[in-house]
Symmetry: none
Subunit: 188 residues, 4 copies
DNA sequence: TGATAATCGAGACGGTACGTCTAGTCTTGGT
DNA sequence: ACCAAGACTAGACGTACCGTCTCGATTATCA
């Protein structure tokens, strides 16, 4: 016998309002200033409605990212034919991206989210960033797949993350050097 | 002639008590659960004494790391003659390290600290992890230096950071593959 | 139609716990040692719950007094038929009253509260002390009312306050003289 | 044999700077906002220099008042020949006086000081306010002295204090009524 | 004429309380 | 059962003062 349930079903309007609010607050003030209270206020939603569906602010953000609300089309790499240049451009864009015009680096905020939320961490590598990167990288490296490709993708993305954390400035040239260090040898 | 000031001098005992407290709380509960209030309580110190010398908990931790209180000897790489194996072993150790027996990964906590504190971020790459790594890595790569070496070191360390954030398990073999992806071609 | 609001309603249990705590701390240690933090601790209540309903400790005490928790029956004057003696006895009692067995004078603490809190100041004269006094005083002075009565009541109560502030000792005889100075002439 | 002492003697400059600072801060912000730290800062003096000579801020203020720095000539009553009007005018002035142009009532601040400091309390009645009042009052009441005069003075001054605490407005007419209530009967 | 000792400005120290903010839970009334 | 609203306990935030202490420099008196 199936378990039956009565009452209204989850409100899609509330879900969207919450994700919208979370995204706009994240881009305005960064992950550390993001609060459940603030999301609820801006979304015009009771706090309980958030806690009912997400265990933490990290998971709200994880879902928002997953739906492409934070990075939009930026997850996809350009394809100009020059794989080396495409990769460097994409990495530079990721590195340079600000959450808001005068705000924190978006990548750094993303790392903060990943450090605090298992779900975001999982997705950061598996779906959000590493996955789109992998595809183009595979082409550049002669169609390799498997652990060898994963290592290269992790190395590229990880280096940019580490550099974002270091607060130093890196430009297009540095990224090209980075791409060469990982892709170059295989391409030579 | 410099302006001189008289009066009591900074208490070294208080400084040490604060760093000790910060380190023990960090290893017990991780960076996110670390609080100024908690540090002051455990150190037996007024909160103002912390704020007088450090702007944030991130900077307290940064100083503790800098003095080797968090990583101890682990910052130095082994030297068995087999550079490839040494690097993989060191990375695996870093990846595996727990803050406490049942605790969070120490590397992940370190990344959280770096994401929140500019000072820790700067040092994470410049002094704490990348620097010791660079030396051994240079040997393994035929004595190269400069941006090419930096790129390799960032790639190696960054990959491990990204993998730590992803919460997946990686073992010695994966690290060896990683080392090969970056060092290998040059070493071959 | 009035704007309606839904949601949880103010907790009467919390309100009472706060007033109880405030009163017991006030009588134990006096107004200057009374703290919001201490009230919250003893009441087993979050600080925010106090700040939500009262702007300052003075207003908490004002409400406690208004509900008769601090002076109890002492606000009412005795009626033995001898108005002169009744008034003197009441004033002496007020003057002599300690907040706790070994504590500060309660009247002095009350004055401190009134000096610091507009609400308490207002009520000290209007409701708490002067009002009960006025009634009996009117009888003693041949049923007068209005500004003339107010002046007499203020003079009587004010004199006792001033004497409490002076830390000198005054006894029943002094109070009788005081009553005579204000009521006497009219009663003679 | 007398105990001998060597070393520099108390600095009069420091004493004056402290009293000046205390007075100016008192008149600017009132007794409750007066702090030892603030006095020291404004006076350009070490905190210890204050604590060496005065046990509390109340005692600093008490000394300042005693030297006429707070009330100046206002402690003396006018003498126009009309004692009744002189008394009312003096009381009104006392009641109306602001600590600063836009500040708290000075009398209320004085009462706060008296409630908190035994020394100030003692002097408020004995020397500062009641004493000057007594002289003129004695004339107005036919030269009486002793407890009867004290009662009248306490009643007059006390009434004004109580009214200041109540935050209500009282004008010249009210004060005249008050004077009549206490002086009048005897003068009739 | 030193040595001695109390003074001074400055400010670090261990604490307590401030008033605000957020976490996560619970309660109410409405849909 | 869900929702918006928001009160509840709990506790951290960063700041302001408390009263004590330590520091080095500066006087005065006494040996």
């Amino acid at each position: 016998m199936a378990l039956s349930r009565t009452g209204p079903v989850r409100s899609e309007a509330a879900r969207l309002a919450i994700l919208d609010a979370a995204v706009s607050l994240f881009t305005e003030r960064g992950y550390d200033h993001l609060t459940m209270e603030g999301i609820a206020r801006r979304a015009g939603v009771g706090k309980q409605t958030i806690y009912r569906w997400w265990p933490s602010k990290g998971d709200v953000i994880a879902e928002a990212i997953l739906e492409g609300r934070l990075l939009g089309g930026r997850r996809d790499l350009p394809d100009t034919g020059d794989a080396r240049a495409d990769l460097a451009a994409w990495l530079t864009d990721l590195f340079t991206l600000r959450a808001s015009p005068d705000g924190e680096g978006l990548l750094r905020s993303l790392v903060a989210a990943a450090a605090g939320s298992a779900e975001t961490g999982r997705r950061l590598r598996a779906e959000i960033l590493a996955a789109p990167l992998s595809h183009r990288l595979s082409q550049a490296m002669g169609g390799i797949t498997g652990p060898r490709l994963d290592a290269a993708a992790d190395a590229l993305l990880g280096a940019v993350i580490l550099r974002a954390l270091s607060r130093e400035d890196f430009g297009q040239d540095d990224m090209l050097l980075l791409v060469d260090a990982i892709v170059g040898p295989a391409a030579r």
